[in-house]
Symmetry: C2
Subunit: 107 residues, 2 copies
DNA sequence: CATAGATACCTCATCTGTCAAGGTATATTA
DNA sequence: TAATATACCTTGACAGATGAGGTATCTATG
């Protein structure tokens, strides 16, 4: 496992939720958007992405529905729930605290 | 595993190296110092600490020696090596990059 | 003098998120 | 016709974190 992966570990869910705050989206698109947002430096692995979706759905933070595309591959859309919004605020707070802490420790 | 633990995951080695930059130290002391530095909010679990020591030693980033205490429990001291110093700079750079990236993604 | 708590070390099995490797199907472009 | 992009998914293995357990010494309390 690369250092970056290990550092990012645990942020996957927050990253996905953050993205769904803007708008409903589907796996492939979310991954591309994250790649774009990070100037092509970070791309979630598919397996990581889907396992995170499962956890988020299990926790009630997202719900899913199939898109109504008549052409092309089917898309499974994800939408954030109210609980998901709350969870996101928690994740974000945790991140900010952890960031302060690590900055403090890596002086 | 708590959210915090997952967020901190992967930083253990950098945190230890950072501490050893200041001075040689031993497990128990390092843990107490980290607790103090974070205002009693974060304490490494012992098992986490020792497994990190093993990895760091394996990688040649630290070396160890026994203290010469004549009273009290024996202490195994850890010292950072030149390679460890280099590795720390890398870890720190990785952290700064990852921090930017996550900040960007959790807007 | 007994006992509780602090200091100080360590190991092992288990858990969990990540990921490599594999798969399916459709549309577009060369 | 073949390659590439889009789009979904599962499985097994890996590695860091951790709960639970262990050993030994010293100090303070009653």
């Amino acid at each position: 496992m690369s250092i970056t992966s290990d550092i990012l570990r645990g942020h996957t869910e927050a990253i996905i939720l953050s993205h769904l705050l803007e708008q409903d989206s589907y796996g492939y698109q979310i991954n591309k958007d994250i790649l774009k947002k990070t100037n092509n430096t970070y791309e979630l692995k598919e397996a990581t992405l889907y396992s995170a979706f499962r956890r988020l759905e299990q926790a009630g933070y997202i719900r899913t529905y199939w898109g109504d595309e008549t052409v092309g591959a089917r898309r499974r859309y994800y939408a954030i729930t109210d609980e998901g919004r709350k969870a996101y605020q928690e994740y974000k707070k945790e991140w900010q605290e952890a960031r302060e802490m690590i900055d403090q420790l890596l002086k």
